[in-house]
Symmetry: C2
Subunit: 498 residues, 2 copies
């Protein structure tokens, strides 16, 4: 058995001895095939750069091939050493990290406590969507989903590793994550590399579109038993998944969807699994855990941001400011009812209402998530299957995206009100206080008066539904902003520097 | 000076020696005119019936005339005796109380803790509106207001005794409640009977339309000084007003509007004034006190029902069930933003949103109030001036009125949910559980499944906005109700008795 040091390049864009910053270096080596390579063998890589020294775990990819993946964070030369029980031999070498290509801003990090930014400092204004098992539909449908995403404002998508069993979700995936079958039982100690290779292909596709992959590692909608494998199997699965996909810079870890519906798991289980992520992910990818009813304790230090589902019949993103105060982390409302007309309570609001919720989040310095559940398209619902979007919301999110992009810094903070006065508006203000965004939600004032003394402000009225922007030029002192007396209006003020 | 015992009949419908039940008996007598009759003299009436013995205070009506008014609660013969320092003589006599005429159901009382019913047992489903000083506008406008009310669903109107000073309210009333003038000062010890006679005329007009007069005794929008007269003058004014109008069966006492904006008054003042009402009103009329920001302590025993203004930017009537639990009294949301487009935050929501809030209240066993503030009609805004209604809400309130009328008993209770399941509906149920009303607010399910075992239920889908009712006949066992996938839909279920 030999160590060939062959680079595998079929899946990712990095070239053999040259990788761009935040790209992915991959080395594939042959090794032992006796016994169970998934459990009996391990492969490790050590990557060294003047600024960084990292050890990562690799994984068995089937057919005698072991792989190690690594995302370099610095430009220049990296040296690596590969070792482990997979082989009696070791491998070593080096590669050069070049500047990132256009559109590669690095992984997303928490910025300014409540916000996100890419590692190069570019603000990331999260506009997420949910397509739980889009990657397990027909190839044609998957391609359509990618095409829809390409045309959209979405820069994050939540989806599951495992197949989904639920209303409108009764088909079988093209293959399974483990060896075995539902009838004969699964061998949770033997992964199916093809299943994960497909997942990785889709993560890479998303990366190419500039979309973060918010990967749901466990979920309760299950007829196969993957939601209740026991601690040992869960841990092994987590390590395997992390070894495979952590090096993709667009990966976020969503520990579970509706964790509270996974009845067999306790808080101790979740904390242990969070530990598995923290120990095995060398990049510190974003980590969250999503509720059905009770929020998880988002003060836990491993949670980087709050991934929330609404808890109130009527309120969702309106509570963003309170939750910022409570958790001191970014507030991401991943489920606030989807646009649609489905029988289920979480998927039947209008596009107008969903857009309103996005804006309520935005002006409070939080982030909302989209989903679509319209019946009547051959039971293909975006929320689970992807495909096409039929709703009114997505176009308006492109308008919101445009507004987000112009905010100085990396996000808004809700302006605290001292009075009941103007109790029909919410104002978000940028960190440098040069940018103010007033949102009126369903309130419809005919005008609003301001008094900015000697300061000069550029004023515009935004119709968040009609997606129009009406400039009122530069104003100073006391001035009145006429408004159309319609719902969903905002006023944008930009301070003119002297 | 003599006691003539002359009956005065110019203002109310009761005849000299015959009064209908819950009508008004009035006796006018001449008396002393020296000194200040308002403060120096008193007149009392004692009314005796086998079931009732009541003593009431009368009042000086100017030009040497003193009056005593009384609302009889029982049919048959009443005897009365009039006495007091107004004259050295007394008067006595009797009158017969006949059955109430059609449309006279008696005064409104609290019923079943959270609801209202007239004294004859007829349910009173409150659909209120606000026209703060409609009775102080031009005669022509007042008549137009009455005409608008006649065509409407409103069965309660909130309005002020005193004139109002506020945006869009800068005119002077045709006369003032006290002698004197703003320039030379007011003599708070001398009332202007003409001012109060006009108020009474309008209370009687409302009574003829079947509309409750929710009389705001004090309010803060004031340039005349009537909101800060001091305790002695306040008490005298309260007693005078009560002596004059308590006998009108449609009077409700609203101690103050936005009590918290009357900065000179303390809780002790409000409690003392509430005591003045309780001691001087022999009929136990409904009593409330309305907030701007903090709710008054509605657990106080003198408060018969909660007259509320929203405290939350987004939620209002959605909180009805919680407040029922907290206060154990009827919940009346008199201010939840008015339909309109005014600059003020409390008056610029759509008709759709206001109608939605009415339904959110209704299915939780509470009551909402209407108001309209549209600019662009010569600064005549219904909220203050009355006149015409231009909004979309009033027509829908007639539909709600029709639905209210069919509820068995006197109101709905919110059905407590044990599960998150169907977290897009709110259900109100009648006391006898034979009537269920599910409201979907902005949620838009395409269908809803029920399972009523062997019971039979008559099913209808209501479009609360389009004001349509679609019968689905009698259903039993498991059945599916198809829904239009639109906002503002309700399902009504009526149990079929075997």
């Amino acid at each position: 058995m030999g160590c060939r040091g062959r680079m595998v390049t079929d899946m990712v864009q990095n070239k053999t001895e040259q990788v761009e910053r935040w790209g992915m270096f991959e080395i594939a080596l042959t090794g032992r095939t006796d016994g169970n390579p998934f459990t009996d063998c391990e492969i490790r890589g050590r990557f060294t750069h003047p600024c960084q020294e990292v050890e990562v775990s690799g994984f068995y990819d089937g057919e005698g091939v072991y792989k190690v993946r690594f995302m370099p964070s610095f430009e220049g030369e990296y040296r690596y050493e590969i070792s482990g029980s997979f082989s009696d031999e070791t491998a070593a070498g080096s590669f050069t990290v070049t500047p990132p290509s256009a559109g590669n801003h690095g992984p997303v990090r928490v910025a300014d406590t409540y916000h996100f930014a890419y590692e190069d400092g570019t603000a990331h204004y999260s506009i997420g969507t949910t397509c739980y098992v889009w990657h397990l539909q027909s190839e044609e449908l998957q391609e359509q989903t990618l095409e829809t995403l390409r045309e959209s404002a979405f820069n994050k998508i939540r989806f599951c590793v495992f197949p989904k069993h639920y209303d409108y979700n009764h088909n079988e995936p093209f293959c399974y994550p483990f060896e075995g079958s539902r009838e004969s039982g699964w061998d949770f100690t033997r992964f199916n590399p093809a299943y994960f290779r497909h997942l990785e292909r889709r993560i890479a596709d998303l990366q190419a579109l500039g979309i973060e992959a918010d990967i749901i590692m466990l979920h309760p909608y299950d007829r196969w038993g993957f939601s209740d494998m026991g601690a040992e199997n869960d841990d092994r699965y987590f390590k395997y998944l992390i070894a495979r996909v952590a090096a993709f810079r667009n990966v976020w870890w969503a520990l579970a969807n509706e964790y509270d519906l996974l009845k067999a798991k306790t808080v101790a289980d979740w904390e242990r699994l969070a530990g598995v992520i923290c120990e095995n992910d060398p990049y510190g990818r974003l980590r969250s855990i999503h509720n059905c009813i009770p929020f998880y304790d988002h003060t836990r230090p491993w949670i980087t941001h709050c991934s929330l589902q609404r808890q109130d019949l009527h309120l969702s993103t309106e509570l963003t400011a309170d939750l910022r105060t409570r958790y001191k982390k970014p507030i991401v409302w991943d489920e606030i009812c989807y646009e649609g007309n489905i029988n289920w309570c979480w998927g039947n609001i209008s596009g107008q209402e969903l857009v309103r919720r996005f804006w309520e989040a935005a002006v409070r310095g939080g982030y909302a998530g989209h989903g679509e559940t319209y019946l009547g398209h051959d039971d293909v619902l975006w929320w689970s299957h992807g495909g096409k979007l039929y709703g009114d919301c997505p176009a308006r999110l492109k308008f919101l995206q445009k507004i987000y992009a112009e905010i100085p810094g990396c996000g808004l903070s809700p302006m605290v009100k001292r009075y009941w006065y103007n109790f029909d508006e919410t104002c978000g203000v940028s960190k440098d206080e040069s940018y103010k965004l007033y949102y009126f939600s369903w309130f419809r004032p005919s005008f609003r008066d301001f008094d900015f003394g000697e300061e000069k402000w550029e004023v515009a009225v935004l119709d968040t539904w009609e997606m129009t922007e009406t400039s009122l030029g530069v104003q100073t002192g006391k001035f009145r902003v006429p408004l159309p007396g319609k719902e969903y209006i905002a006023i944008r003020l930009r301070k003119i520097s002297c």
